[in-house]
Amino acid sequence: MTASILDGIVLGLQFGVLATGLTLVYGLGGVLNLAYGQMAVISAMVVLLAMDAGVPLLAAVGLGLLAGGLLGLLLDVTILRPVYRLQGEARVLLSLLLSLGVAFIVDGFLNWRFPLRGLSLRVGGEAVEILGVRMRTGSLVASGITLLVLAVLFYLFRFTRLGRAIRSVIENEEGARLVGIDPHHMLRIILVLSGVLAAIVAVTRSMVAPVNVRAGFSITVLALIVTVVGGLGSISGAFLAGLVLGIINSIASAYIGTFLSLIILLVAAALTILIRPAGLLGVRE
């Protein structure tokens, strides 16, 4: 049980970072990015190819992060223009459909070009014992990196001018305009950031379990579940929900298998929508 919980925490932290990318984009731009999982997969593939080509690990990872960010930029430049002409539900719907199209394009291409490939980063070192459970170094490094990212995000949003500006757009888009902030510009930054976050999740996850070229949509679904439970637009909600769901998923998988434990997560998201649509920490519209 302890092992499951610890694994759950490791997974939960990943969920948190993953959901943050999606929830920021929705909270700020009212846009649902269903190509999110593909951002993670593309980064993983870039890292893989770079390493195949002999590029050292750190540089390869850097390239992966760059790839994630670039896909975010591409999304902004291509499909966001028509999407931004709309408001409210229409905007979400169109962004959903167009990003789904992009997801298909990327997924189809990657699976055609690199079938069956997956990224797996081997992190050397002795297994460490925590609370009586042997944790692989991969899990620990992944968690460490995730916590670092969390700290950086926290600092960014709390204490920097840019972070404040981003938060203001999430709080009130018109209010942000009134202080001279361009919401579209901020969204572009957030999309790039979400791509980088997706890439980080892909890289850290690959230290624990292989990240497959086909994983795109599963990643998006997981991100969506955590985002919904945490509350659309709330970063702290994303992390809280991530941890809770990560632990639940871990324990459930151990006892009832992967398929059925995914159902538990799905149902959790559905219940959130039905009972408390704002999510755990979301802002009520």
Partner: protein
Amino acid sequence: MSERFSRATGTSLVGGAESHTSRSLTAMLGTVAGMAAVLALFPLWLGDSRVLMGVAILGLAFASYAIGFNLIFGSTGQLFLCVGALAGVGGYSATILADRAGLPVLVSILAATLLAGVTGGLLSWIAVRRSLGVIFTGIVTLIFALSFENLLLGLSGVTGGDAGLQIGAGSGTFLREQIAPYYLMLALVVVFLIVHGLLRRSHVGWAFRALRDDEVAAELAGIDVARYRVYGALVGAAMLGMAGATYAFTAGRVSPTTFGFAQVDVVVIVMLAFGGIGTLLGPILGAVVFTAIDEVLIEFGQLRLLAYGVLIIVLFLWIRRGMIPTLRALIGRRGGPPNRRDTTAAHTPSTGPG
């Protein structure tokens, strides 16, 4: 006020404003009959190839799915992203009833239809009770679809898991022949079209249009939005279940991929968006075109998904309302490009608020 506005634009975004009840009953039946006649000729051309007939039968199944989705989304504005799952509820329950419980095929199909219909109605009722907007309805139904898929995979004892189930019932009958099932599925399509067409022309259809275009105004005008939404979902889901069940018996097997989101919902959305959401024959046009396109694309393996991605983007950026409305607008049919608020309806309901 902007909230209400944006709620209405949800479906008009994808062209859900079609409503040509100005057509007379005979004209509608005539159009359906004409289309059925054309489709009935296909086996003359394809009948020799078992593979191609299989594709055609599947195409008709998709046409049925598209009609059902058209009713649920096009007519009542509910974004149900669980088309495949509802068809799957039909397909799997019919299979299990026929093979495990030994019920006759027809009874199994009817029971499956009922089950799917109730499921759809229930989903709609929940969405209505909790006032879920288009997006959340979409997410909740998507969750249902994914849960259903995972349930099929997880409860492999009952459902055959990944591999699915071979269907014993119905083998040796006309259901497994090469050409006969085509006409069975075609009959289903015709029945569904007539049902949809009649609904649209009735006061139910009038209520559908009102609540889809402007929910608040409809409510104020005395239309019980909740009830009509649930009716629409019930009938639409029943269609999906019946189509799924019937198709299952013609195919002889069911598996999670037969009714998966990526395999069914995505394709149906593309078909309907192409053909014209809310139109009567849009689903048929979309089904025919995309079954053909899909056959070609199968060659390309994974690139097929890429092609669909491009299609979705092109469709929702440019041919927003679908082919039928676009063509209509070009030809300048009576009524022209449909308005959000349809004032050209020649049919005035005999019941309803004054």
